[in-house]
Assembly symmetry: C2
Homo-oligomer: 188 residues x 2
DNA sequence: CAAATGACTGTTTTAGTATTATAGTCATAA
DNA sequence: TTATGACTATAATACTAAAACAGTCATTTG
Protein backbone atom coordinates (compact mmCIF):
# COMPACT_ATOMS: atom_id res chain seq x y z
CA UNK A 1 0.00 0.00 0.00
CA UNK A 2 1.15 3.54 -0.86
CA UNK A 3 2.04 5.21 2.43
CA UNK A 4 2.29 8.65 0.85
CA UNK A 5 -1.26 8.41 -0.46
CA UNK A 6 -2.47 7.09 2.89
CA UNK A 7 -0.95 10.11 4.59
CA UNK A 8 -2.47 12.51 2.06
CA UNK A 9 -5.89 10.96 2.50
CA UNK A 10 -5.62 11.06 6.26
CA UNK A 11 -4.53 14.70 6.25
CA UNK A 12 -7.26 15.68 3.79
CA UNK A 13 -9.83 14.06 6.04
CA UNK A 14 -8.53 15.72 9.20
CA UNK A 15 -8.05 19.15 7.63
CA UNK A 16 -11.61 18.96 6.27
CA UNK A 17 -13.10 17.91 9.58
CA UNK A 18 -11.09 19.94 12.09
CA UNK A 19 -9.32 22.60 10.03
CA UNK A 20 -5.60 23.23 9.61
CA UNK A 21 -4.87 24.65 13.03
CA UNK A 22 -6.73 21.95 14.94
CA UNK A 23 -5.17 19.08 13.01
CA UNK A 24 -2.06 17.63 14.63
CA UNK A 25 0.59 15.66 12.84
CA UNK A 26 0.09 12.86 15.35
CA UNK A 27 -3.59 12.81 14.43
CA UNK A 28 -2.71 12.53 10.74
CA UNK A 29 -0.26 9.71 11.46
CA UNK A 30 -2.86 7.88 13.51
CA UNK A 31 -5.55 8.09 10.83
CA UNK A 32 -3.01 7.06 8.18
CA UNK A 33 -1.94 4.19 10.46
CA UNK A 34 1.72 5.11 10.32
CA UNK A 35 4.19 6.46 12.84
CA UNK A 36 4.58 10.20 13.20
CA UNK A 37 8.14 10.08 11.90
CA UNK A 38 6.89 8.43 8.71
CA UNK A 39 4.77 11.45 7.88
CA UNK A 40 7.95 13.54 7.96
CA UNK A 41 9.65 11.16 5.53
CA UNK A 42 7.17 12.26 2.87
CA UNK A 43 6.37 15.84 3.89
CA UNK A 44 9.01 18.00 5.53
CA UNK A 45 6.34 19.90 7.49
CA UNK A 46 2.63 20.46 8.06
CA UNK A 47 2.51 23.37 5.60
CA UNK A 48 3.81 21.26 2.70
CA UNK A 49 1.17 18.67 3.47
CA UNK A 50 -1.66 21.19 3.18
CA UNK A 51 -0.20 22.73 0.04
CA UNK A 52 0.06 19.35 -1.67
CA UNK A 53 -3.58 18.57 -0.90
CA UNK A 54 -4.83 21.95 -2.13
CA UNK A 55 -2.65 21.69 -5.22
CA UNK A 56 -4.24 18.42 -6.26
CA UNK A 57 -7.66 19.85 -5.47
CA UNK A 58 -6.89 22.68 -7.90
CA UNK A 59 -6.09 20.12 -10.59
CA UNK A 60 -9.40 18.41 -9.95
CA UNK A 61 -11.18 21.75 -10.10
CA UNK A 62 -9.71 22.51 -13.51
CA UNK A 63 -11.00 19.18 -14.80
CA UNK A 64 -14.49 19.72 -13.45
CA UNK A 65 -14.65 23.22 -14.92
CA UNK A 66 -13.44 21.94 -18.28
CA UNK A 67 -16.17 19.30 -18.30
CA UNK A 68 -18.81 21.97 -17.72
CA UNK A 69 -17.38 24.10 -20.50
CA UNK A 70 -17.71 21.27 -23.05
CA UNK A 71 -21.50 21.45 -22.95
CA UNK A 72 -21.74 25.21 -23.54
CA UNK A 73 -21.85 27.42 -26.63
CA UNK A 74 -20.68 31.03 -26.70
CA UNK A 75 -18.14 32.83 -24.54
CA UNK A 76 -20.44 34.06 -21.77
CA UNK A 77 -22.17 30.68 -21.46
CA UNK A 78 -18.83 28.89 -21.18
CA UNK A 79 -17.54 31.47 -18.70
CA UNK A 80 -20.70 31.16 -16.64
CA UNK A 81 -20.60 27.35 -16.72
CA UNK A 82 -16.96 27.25 -15.66
CA UNK A 83 -17.29 29.86 -12.92
CA UNK A 84 -20.42 28.33 -11.55
CA UNK A 85 -18.75 24.92 -11.48
CA UNK A 86 -15.80 26.46 -9.63
CA UNK A 87 -17.99 28.16 -7.02
CA UNK A 88 -19.98 24.96 -6.52
CA UNK A 89 -16.75 23.03 -6.27
CA UNK A 90 -15.59 25.34 -3.51
CA UNK A 91 -18.88 25.05 -1.67
CA UNK A 92 -19.10 21.29 -2.00
CA UNK A 93 -15.60 20.46 -0.88
CA UNK A 94 -15.49 20.45 2.90
CA UNK A 95 -11.81 21.34 2.90
CA UNK A 96 -12.36 24.61 1.05
CA UNK A 97 -15.32 25.51 3.27
CA UNK A 98 -13.39 24.68 6.42
CA UNK A 99 -10.32 26.64 5.33
CA UNK A 100 -12.47 29.67 4.48
CA UNK A 101 -14.09 29.56 7.91
CA UNK A 102 -10.71 29.18 9.58
CA UNK A 103 -9.35 32.19 7.71
CA UNK A 104 -12.33 34.21 8.87
CA UNK A 105 -12.15 33.06 12.49
CA UNK A 106 -8.40 32.93 13.10
CA UNK A 107 -6.71 34.50 10.09
CA UNK A 108 -4.18 31.64 10.00
CA UNK A 109 -1.45 32.99 7.66
CA UNK A 110 -0.75 29.69 5.88
CA UNK A 111 -4.45 29.21 5.21
CA UNK A 112 -4.62 32.71 3.77
CA UNK A 113 -1.66 31.95 1.55
CA UNK A 114 -3.13 28.69 0.33
CA UNK A 115 -6.60 30.10 -0.43
CA UNK A 116 -4.97 33.06 -2.13
CA UNK A 117 -2.96 30.87 -4.47
CA UNK A 118 -6.11 28.87 -5.18
CA UNK A 119 -7.81 32.08 -6.30
CA UNK A 120 -4.86 32.94 -8.49
CA UNK A 121 -5.07 29.45 -9.97
CA UNK A 122 -8.68 30.17 -10.92
CA UNK A 123 -7.69 33.47 -12.55
CA UNK A 124 -4.93 31.79 -14.56
CA UNK A 125 -7.45 29.19 -15.70
CA UNK A 126 -9.94 31.84 -16.83
CA UNK A 127 -7.21 33.89 -18.46
CA UNK A 128 -6.41 30.89 -20.67
CA UNK A 129 -10.02 30.77 -21.78
CA UNK A 130 -10.07 34.50 -22.45
CA UNK A 131 -6.92 34.19 -24.55
CA UNK A 132 -8.62 31.45 -26.56
CA UNK A 133 -11.75 33.56 -27.04
CA UNK A 134 -9.64 36.44 -28.36
CA UNK A 135 -7.90 34.12 -30.82
CA UNK A 136 -11.23 32.76 -32.01
CA UNK A 137 -12.38 36.39 -32.29
CA UNK A 138 -15.33 35.77 -30.03
CA UNK A 139 -14.38 38.91 -28.11
CA UNK A 140 -12.29 41.98 -28.83
CA UNK A 141 -8.60 42.05 -28.05
CA UNK A 142 -7.80 42.84 -24.42
CA UNK A 143 -5.40 41.96 -21.62
CA UNK A 144 -6.37 38.36 -20.75
CA UNK A 145 -5.05 38.48 -17.18
CA UNK A 146 -6.86 41.68 -16.22
CA UNK A 147 -10.01 40.60 -17.99
CA UNK A 148 -10.00 37.22 -16.24
CA UNK A 149 -9.32 38.86 -12.89
CA UNK A 150 -12.17 41.35 -13.30
CA UNK A 151 -14.68 38.82 -14.64
CA UNK A 152 -13.94 36.47 -11.78
CA UNK A 153 -14.25 39.25 -9.23
CA UNK A 154 -17.48 40.47 -10.79
CA UNK A 155 -18.94 36.98 -10.63
CA UNK A 156 -17.99 36.67 -6.97
CA UNK A 157 -19.34 40.15 -6.28
CA UNK A 158 -22.67 39.30 -7.86
CA UNK A 159 -23.14 35.84 -6.40
CA UNK A 160 -21.57 36.35 -2.98
CA UNK A 161 -21.10 39.99 -1.99
CA UNK A 162 -24.20 41.66 -3.37
CA UNK A 163 -26.52 39.56 -1.22
CA UNK A 164 -24.83 40.73 1.95
CA UNK A 165 -26.98 43.86 1.74
CA UNK A 166 -29.52 43.10 -1.00
CA UNK A 167 -31.70 40.26 -2.23
CA UNK A 168 -29.70 37.50 -3.94
CA UNK A 169 -29.07 37.37 -7.67
CA UNK A 170 -29.72 34.10 -9.48
CA UNK A 171 -27.03 32.40 -11.51
CA UNK A 172 -28.93 33.23 -14.72
CA UNK A 173 -29.29 36.89 -13.74
CA UNK A 174 -25.56 37.06 -12.97
CA UNK A 175 -24.69 35.64 -16.39
CA UNK A 176 -27.06 38.12 -18.05
CA UNK A 177 -25.49 41.02 -16.14
CA UNK A 178 -21.98 39.96 -17.08
CA UNK A 179 -23.12 39.82 -20.69
CA UNK A 180 -24.65 43.31 -20.37
CA UNK A 181 -21.65 44.96 -18.79
CA UNK A 182 -18.68 43.03 -20.15
CA UNK A 183 -19.82 42.04 -23.61
CA UNK A 184 -22.41 44.53 -24.80
CA UNK A 185 -21.37 47.56 -22.79
CA UNK A 186 -23.52 50.43 -21.52
CA UNK A 187 -23.04 52.83 -24.41
CA UNK A 188 -26.44 53.80 -25.83
CA UNK B 1 -18.40 77.31 23.43
CA UNK B 2 -20.30 74.35 21.92
CA UNK B 3 -19.59 71.38 24.18
CA UNK B 4 -21.07 68.89 21.75
CA UNK B 5 -18.71 70.02 19.02
CA UNK B 6 -15.79 69.99 21.45
CA UNK B 7 -16.60 66.38 22.29
CA UNK B 8 -16.92 65.39 18.64
CA UNK B 9 -13.59 67.01 17.82
CA UNK B 10 -11.90 65.34 20.78
CA UNK B 11 -13.30 61.93 19.86
CA UNK B 12 -12.37 62.35 16.19
CA UNK B 13 -8.82 63.17 17.22
CA UNK B 14 -8.53 60.26 19.61
CA UNK B 15 -10.18 57.72 17.28
CA UNK B 16 -7.84 58.86 14.49
CA UNK B 17 -4.75 58.62 16.66
CA UNK B 18 -5.41 55.54 18.76
CA UNK B 19 -8.32 53.78 17.03
CA UNK B 20 -11.77 52.95 18.38
CA UNK B 21 -10.80 50.18 20.78
CA UNK B 22 -7.89 52.06 22.35
CA UNK B 23 -9.86 55.27 22.85
CA UNK B 24 -11.47 55.57 26.27
CA UNK B 25 -14.41 57.79 27.08
CA UNK B 26 -12.32 59.34 29.85
CA UNK B 27 -9.67 60.19 27.25
CA UNK B 28 -12.28 61.85 25.05
CA UNK B 29 -13.62 63.85 28.00
CA UNK B 30 -10.12 64.95 28.95
CA UNK B 31 -9.24 66.17 25.44
CA UNK B 32 -12.61 67.91 25.18
CA UNK B 33 -11.97 69.45 28.59
CA UNK B 34 -15.28 68.27 30.01
CA UNK B 35 -16.25 65.74 32.65
CA UNK B 36 -16.88 62.17 31.61
CA UNK B 37 -20.56 62.41 32.52
CA UNK B 38 -20.92 65.36 30.13
CA UNK B 39 -19.96 63.19 27.19
CA UNK B 40 -22.88 60.91 28.07
CA UNK B 41 -25.25 63.90 28.07
CA UNK B 42 -24.65 64.24 24.32
CA UNK B 43 -23.89 60.66 23.24
CA UNK B 44 -25.57 57.75 24.99
CA UNK B 45 -22.55 55.52 24.31
CA UNK B 46 -19.18 55.17 22.58
CA UNK B 47 -20.72 53.56 19.51
CA UNK B 48 -23.05 56.51 18.85
CA UNK B 49 -20.09 58.85 19.09
CA UNK B 50 -18.16 56.99 16.40
CA UNK B 51 -21.22 56.72 14.17
CA UNK B 52 -21.87 60.45 14.38
CA UNK B 53 -18.29 61.24 13.38
CA UNK B 54 -18.30 58.82 10.45
CA UNK B 55 -21.71 60.08 9.35
CA UNK B 56 -20.49 63.66 9.08
CA UNK B 57 -17.37 62.41 7.32
CA UNK B 58 -19.63 60.76 4.74
CA UNK B 59 -21.38 64.10 4.18
CA UNK B 60 -18.02 65.76 3.64
CA UNK B 61 -17.00 63.00 1.24
CA UNK B 62 -20.10 63.54 -0.88
CA UNK B 63 -19.26 67.24 -1.15
CA UNK B 64 -15.66 66.62 -2.15
CA UNK B 65 -16.71 64.06 -4.78
CA UNK B 66 -19.32 66.46 -6.17
CA UNK B 67 -16.70 69.18 -6.50
CA UNK B 68 -14.48 66.85 -8.53
CA UNK B 69 -17.40 65.87 -10.75
CA UNK B 70 -18.07 69.53 -11.69
CA UNK B 71 -14.84 69.77 -13.62
CA UNK B 72 -15.39 66.64 -15.73
CA UNK B 73 -17.15 65.91 -19.02
CA UNK B 74 -18.62 62.52 -19.93
CA UNK B 75 -19.89 59.72 -17.74
CA UNK B 76 -16.66 57.76 -17.35
CA UNK B 77 -14.62 60.89 -16.61
CA UNK B 78 -17.10 61.99 -13.96
CA UNK B 79 -17.24 58.51 -12.50
CA UNK B 80 -13.45 58.31 -12.43
CA UNK B 81 -13.12 61.78 -10.88
CA UNK B 82 -15.66 61.00 -8.16
CA UNK B 83 -14.29 57.55 -7.34
CA UNK B 84 -10.73 58.75 -7.29
CA UNK B 85 -11.69 61.59 -4.98
CA UNK B 86 -13.42 59.11 -2.70
CA UNK B 87 -10.43 56.76 -2.57
CA UNK B 88 -8.11 59.69 -1.90
CA UNK B 89 -10.48 60.94 0.75
CA UNK B 90 -10.31 57.56 2.47
CA UNK B 91 -6.54 57.50 2.28
CA UNK B 92 -6.06 61.05 3.46
CA UNK B 93 -8.34 60.93 6.46
CA UNK B 94 -6.48 59.36 9.33
CA UNK B 95 -9.71 58.15 10.88
CA UNK B 96 -10.60 55.99 7.88
CA UNK B 97 -7.06 54.62 7.66
CA UNK B 98 -6.98 53.85 11.36
CA UNK B 99 -10.39 52.16 11.32
CA UNK B 100 -9.39 50.02 8.35
CA UNK B 101 -6.24 48.90 10.13
CA UNK B 102 -8.19 48.18 13.29
CA UNK B 103 -10.69 46.06 11.37
CA UNK B 104 -7.81 44.10 9.89
CA UNK B 105 -5.96 43.63 13.17
CA UNK B 106 -8.79 43.05 15.62
CA UNK B 107 -11.99 42.68 13.59
CA UNK B 108 -13.82 45.02 16.00
CA UNK B 109 -17.51 44.44 15.09
CA UNK B 110 -18.60 48.07 15.46
CA UNK B 111 -15.76 49.21 13.23
CA UNK B 112 -16.79 46.64 10.64
CA UNK B 113 -20.36 47.91 10.80
CA UNK B 114 -19.31 51.53 10.45
CA UNK B 115 -16.95 50.96 7.51
CA UNK B 116 -19.57 48.78 5.87
CA UNK B 117 -22.19 51.49 6.03
CA UNK B 118 -19.66 53.96 4.68
CA UNK B 119 -19.19 51.71 1.65
CA UNK B 120 -22.93 51.48 1.17
CA UNK B 121 -23.08 55.27 1.36
CA UNK B 122 -20.59 55.42 -1.52
CA UNK B 123 -22.68 53.00 -3.57
CA UNK B 124 -25.85 55.02 -2.97
CA UNK B 125 -23.98 58.13 -4.08
CA UNK B 126 -22.78 56.49 -7.29
CA UNK B 127 -26.19 54.97 -7.94
CA UNK B 128 -27.62 58.51 -7.98
CA UNK B 129 -25.11 59.50 -10.63
CA UNK B 130 -25.87 56.39 -12.68
CA UNK B 131 -29.59 57.17 -12.51
CA UNK B 132 -28.84 60.67 -13.77
CA UNK B 133 -26.70 59.34 -16.63
CA UNK B 134 -29.53 57.01 -17.70
CA UNK B 135 -31.99 59.93 -17.70
CA UNK B 136 -29.59 62.03 -19.77
CA UNK B 137 -29.21 59.00 -22.07
CA UNK B 138 -25.47 58.97 -21.63
CA UNK B 139 -25.67 55.23 -20.98
CA UNK B 140 -28.19 52.48 -21.68
CA UNK B 141 -30.93 51.69 -19.22
CA UNK B 142 -29.84 49.38 -16.40
CA UNK B 143 -30.33 48.74 -12.69
CA UNK B 144 -28.61 51.76 -11.06
CA UNK B 145 -27.90 50.01 -7.75
CA UNK B 146 -26.27 46.95 -9.27
CA UNK B 147 -24.38 49.03 -11.78
CA UNK B 148 -23.08 51.37 -9.08
CA UNK B 149 -22.11 48.44 -6.89
CA UNK B 150 -20.21 46.70 -9.68
CA UNK B 151 -18.46 49.83 -10.96
CA UNK B 152 -17.34 50.71 -7.46
CA UNK B 153 -16.11 47.18 -6.84
CA UNK B 154 -14.30 47.11 -10.17
CA UNK B 155 -12.57 50.36 -9.39
CA UNK B 156 -11.44 49.04 -6.01
CA UNK B 157 -10.36 45.77 -7.61
CA UNK B 158 -8.25 47.59 -10.19
CA UNK B 159 -6.68 50.18 -7.92
CA UNK B 160 -6.30 48.14 -4.73
CA UNK B 161 -6.64 44.40 -5.23
CA UNK B 162 -4.92 43.82 -8.55
CA UNK B 163 -1.61 45.11 -7.28
CA UNK B 164 -1.55 42.55 -4.48
CA UNK B 165 -0.20 40.08 -7.04
CA UNK B 166 0.64 42.19 -10.10
CA UNK B 167 2.19 45.52 -11.00
CA UNK B 168 -0.06 48.47 -10.10
CA UNK B 169 -2.52 50.03 -12.53
CA UNK B 170 -2.49 53.81 -12.90
CA UNK B 171 -5.59 55.84 -12.36
CA UNK B 172 -5.74 56.65 -16.08
CA UNK B 173 -5.39 53.00 -17.02
CA UNK B 174 -8.16 52.06 -14.59
CA UNK B 175 -10.48 54.64 -16.15
CA UNK B 176 -9.64 53.37 -19.63
CA UNK B 177 -10.33 49.77 -18.57
CA UNK B 178 -13.67 50.70 -17.03
CA UNK B 179 -14.54 52.44 -20.28
CA UNK B 180 -13.52 49.35 -22.25
CA UNK B 181 -15.43 46.82 -20.17
CA UNK B 182 -18.41 48.78 -18.89
CA UNK B 183 -19.12 51.21 -21.69
CA UNK B 184 -17.83 49.77 -24.93
CA UNK B 185 -18.04 46.06 -24.12
CA UNK B 186 -15.92 43.23 -25.44
CA UNK B 187 -18.09 42.17 -28.36
CA UNK B 188 -16.05 42.31 -31.57
C1' DC C 1 -32.82 74.01 38.91
C1' DA C 2 -30.66 72.68 34.81
C1' DA C 3 -26.15 71.48 33.36
C1' DA C 4 -21.99 69.43 34.67
C1' DT C 5 -19.20 66.35 37.18
C1' DG C 6 -16.23 62.54 38.87
C1' DA C 7 -16.45 58.86 42.33
C1' DC C 8 -18.49 54.45 41.95
C1' DT C 9 -19.82 49.67 40.13
C1' DG C 10 -20.29 45.53 37.47
C1' DT C 11 -18.07 43.78 33.72
C1' DT C 12 -14.45 43.15 30.43
C1' DT C 13 -9.37 43.22 29.22
C1' DT C 14 -5.07 42.56 30.23
C1' DA C 15 -0.82 40.74 32.21
C1' DG C 16 1.58 37.23 34.37
C1' DT C 17 2.31 32.44 35.00
C1' DA C 18 1.77 27.56 35.17
C1' DT C 19 0.44 23.86 32.38
C1' DT C 20 -0.40 21.40 28.43
C1' DA C 21 0.02 20.38 23.55
C1' DT C 22 2.52 20.16 19.42
C1' DA C 23 5.92 20.44 15.48
C1' DG C 24 9.76 18.58 14.21
C1' DT C 25 14.16 15.53 15.40
C1' DC C 26 16.77 11.54 15.98
C1' DA C 27 18.53 7.38 18.14
C1' DT C 28 16.83 2.93 17.81
C1' DA C 29 14.27 -1.00 15.73
C1' DA C 30 12.28 -3.73 12.11
C1' DT D 1 16.79 1.06 4.00
C1' DT D 2 12.45 2.26 5.84
C1' DA D 3 9.77 3.05 9.84
C1' DT D 4 9.05 4.42 14.45
C1' DG D 5 7.75 6.83 18.79
C1' DA D 6 10.18 8.79 22.81
C1' DC D 7 12.19 13.25 23.25
C1' DT D 8 12.86 18.43 23.25
C1' DA D 9 12.30 23.11 22.46
C1' DT D 10 8.71 26.04 21.34
C1' DA D 11 4.06 27.60 21.16
C1' DA D 12 -0.67 27.42 22.49
C1' DT D 13 -3.81 27.29 26.25
C1' DA D 14 -5.95 27.69 30.81
C1' DC D 15 -6.04 30.05 34.94
C1' DT D 16 -5.90 33.85 38.06
C1' DA D 17 -5.12 38.20 39.93
C1' DA D 18 -5.00 42.92 38.85
C1' DA D 19 -6.17 46.83 36.11
C1' DA D 20 -9.02 49.36 32.97
C1' DC D 21 -13.19 50.40 31.24
C1' DA D 22 -18.16 51.83 29.87
C1' DG D 23 -21.83 53.54 31.67
C1' DT D 24 -24.54 55.37 36.06
C1' DC D 25 -25.96 58.52 39.44
C1' DA D 26 -25.75 61.14 43.73
C1' DT D 27 -23.69 65.42 44.39
C1' DT D 28 -22.03 69.96 42.98
C1' DT D 29 -21.96 74.20 40.50
C1' DG D 30 -23.23 78.35 38.07
Amino acid sequence: MDKQQQIINAAAQSFSQYGYKATTMEQVAKIAQVGKGTVYLYFSNKEKLLKEIVRSLAVEMRMVADQHIQASEGFVERFDAALYAILQFREQHDLMVKLSLELNDFGTPIVKEVLDSFEQEICVYIADKVRLAIEKEEIRSCDPEITAFLMYKMYINLIHDWQKHHSPISRERAAALIRLYFIEGLQP
